[in-house]
């Protein structure tokens, strides 16, 4: 659990982060959104003390982060940034092994961990461990960047626009990887993005910032249905908020009992995708099936639309 209390940062008389307080639960993904210059990166960087706060404090598992030297704190917190920042003079394996090495792990343990991570990110250790970063594609570099951040099994992973430079297909893949990582390692993730779809897709909670202040920090659905402020409503997108809301629920969660008729949609698809499929096919009901084809229930157009309204 990360507790942020009254955190502020002032640069030359300008308040860049203004008394932000928030509690980030263990094993959740929190996404920070906001306009450019609203202080997102600064807030994130105050958590691992890359930026020293002007006021307030940060507690991780109840311990004030100022109790230990900043660089030791950072070794326990994963950090991944846009443009990955891989060390160009070190191999992929050496890059990933940086923090374990700083922590004094044995060579065998480092190697085992590097291989495990490369496999998690679908990079063949034989082919890639000894490659130099410039030999990888952009998507691969970005995956190595995240793998490096996870190397020392940090309980917390901070990410600043990690997928900003990726094309839509690789970006979608990277997002799935991230969900998988949280499931697998139980990591608490704090992520900054400009992409609202990404925020709603990944975030258990979303924090909206503007001018250094935290306007709202809530579940995605509540952000849509009860925006605290006109700015939040604009940020989350008035025009397609119903569709956004639909995208937060999966077909499996919304499925009605009984076997229906019409096209099949997978249980993991969002209602938004299910609706699109029904409109496309000209049907008004659909069968919900698991990935392996077993029936899970059915959905009607009416049932889907009900989920798109604030209740």
């Amino acid at each position: 659990m990360i507790t942020v209390e009254n955190l502020s940062k002032v640069y030359d008389g300008t308040t860049v982060v203004d008394a932000v307080s928030m509690v980030i639960e263990k094993n959740t993904t929190t996404v920070i959104v906001g306009t450019s210059g609203s202080g997102k990166s600064t807030l994130l960087r105050m958590i691992n003390r890359l930026v020293e706060p002007t006021g307030g404090r940060v507690l991780i598992e109840g311990r004030d982060t100022r109790e230990e030297p900043a660089h030791l704190l950072r070794r326990r917190i994963g950090y991944a940034i846009q443009g990955h920042g891989l060390f160009p003079h070190r191999t992929v394996a050496e890059n990933i092994g940086t923090v374990p090495q700083l922590l004094g792990w044995s060579a065998a343990r480092i190697q085992a961990r590097v291989e495990e991570l490369l496999q998690v990110f679908q990079l063949d250790p034989k082919a890639y461990a000894d490659a130099m970063p410039h030999e990888l594609s952009g998507g691969q570099q970005q995956r190595v960047g995240v793998a490096r951040a996870l190397a020392a099994e940090p309980a917390v992973l901070l990410m600043d626009e990690p997928f900003g430079a990726l094309d839509p297909i690789i970006r979608a893949k990277a997002q799935e990887d991230l969900l998988e990582i949280r499931r697998r390692f139980g990591t608490t993730i704090v992520l900054v993005t400009h992409d609202m779809d990404e925020a709603f897709h990944l975030g258990d909670r979303v924090a909206v910032m503007s001018g250094g202040r935290l306007l709202q920090y809530d579940r995605p659905a509540r952000l849509l249905t009860q925006p605290a402020d006109p700015f939040v409503a604009r940020m989350t997108g008035m025009g397609d908020r119903a569709m956004r809301l639909l995208s937060l629920t999966t077909a499996g969660e919304a499925a009605l009992p009984g076997r229906g008729s019409g096209p099949a949609v997978t249980a993991s698809a969002s209602l938004r995708e299910a609706l699109s499929e029904l409109v496309w096919q000209g049907a008004d009901s659909a069968q919900v099936v698991d990935a392996d084809g077993t029936a899970r229930g059915h959905l009607t157009l009416d049932a889907i639309l009900r989920h798109g309204r604030p209740s």
Binding site: L50, H71, R74, Y79, I81
Partner: protein, 245 residues
């Protein structure tokens, strides 16, 4: 690549064999002499002169590398930032000073002999290394530095594990420039009585013996080219593993 390597080896072989047994080359130089003057420099051992020359050059370059890299690191740290703009300007101004002028002004201060040459070579050699160290350290990609700190490297670890390795190709290029300039300036050191190959050339100028001039010129020239080339090959090797986009 192949012919170049061959050329390099040939140049090295020529230099070494000439220095070891210069008399064997006497017939080649004889046509350049007049009135029965000696065709091969006879007022000292060419090999020991060449070694002294190389020694002076390398000693000065080592000292300037040490100081210039240290200073370059200091002015690029947070605490040294105040000195950075001035340092850059000084390097720019300093490089307009001709090395000969630096040497000439040093003599009156410390007297004749090796010392003024060493000091002048050292002082002038600082500039390219200092400049390249600063540029190398300042052009490390910001994302890489941010990642290094973000992963928990201390300032020291970041410097030694990330910044210096990334700046190394540029720093070495500075050392190479220094070395080459030094080989040339050191020949002029002989006008202030430093031991070196300049002696041979000057002796030739004074006694109007073209053979001497040519010997001295060829040996220093070959030495400079081989040094330059050797350093460049070393840098290329290092660069192959570090490529920064």
């Amino acid at each position: 690549m192949r012919p170049a390597t061959l050329l390099r080896c040939a140049a090295l072989a020529l230099l070494v064999s000439f220095l070891l047994a210069p008399q064997r080359f006497a017939p080649l130089f004889a046509p350049l002499t007049q009135y029965g003057a000696p065709p091969i420099y006879d007022q000292g051992n060419l090999l020991s002169l060449a070694l002294a020359h190389l020694g002076t050059v390398c000693l000065a370059a080592a000292a300037s590398t040490l100081l210039a890299v240290t200073l370059g690191i200091l002015v690029t740290r947070e605490s040294g930032r105040e000195f950075l703009p001035l340092s850059r300007t000084l390097v720019n101004i300093g490089q307009t000073f001709p090395p000969v002028a630096v040497l000439a002004v040093t003599v009156p201060l410390v007297g004749f002999g090796e010392r003024p040459t060493l000091i002048a070579l050292f002082a002038y050699g600082l500039l390219p290394i200092f400049e390249n160290t600063i540029v190398g350290l300042q052009t490390c990609p910001p994302a890489v530095l941010e990642a290094a700190s973000g992963m928990g490297m201390s300032a020291r670890q970041r410097l030694f594990k990330v910044e210096l390795p990334l700046a190394m190709p540029l720093i070495l290029e500075g050392v190479r420039l220094s070395l080459v300039i030094n080989v040339g300036t050191a020949t002029i050191g002989s006008t202030v009585a430093a031991k070196g190959l300049g002696e041979v050339i000057i002796a030739g100028l004074l006694s109007n013996n073209t053979a001497f001039i040519l010997q001295g010129g060829l040996v220093t020239g070959l030495m400079a080219i081989l040094l330059y080339d050797g350093m460049a090959a070393f840098e290329r090797r290092l660069l192959r593993s570090v490529r920064i986009e």
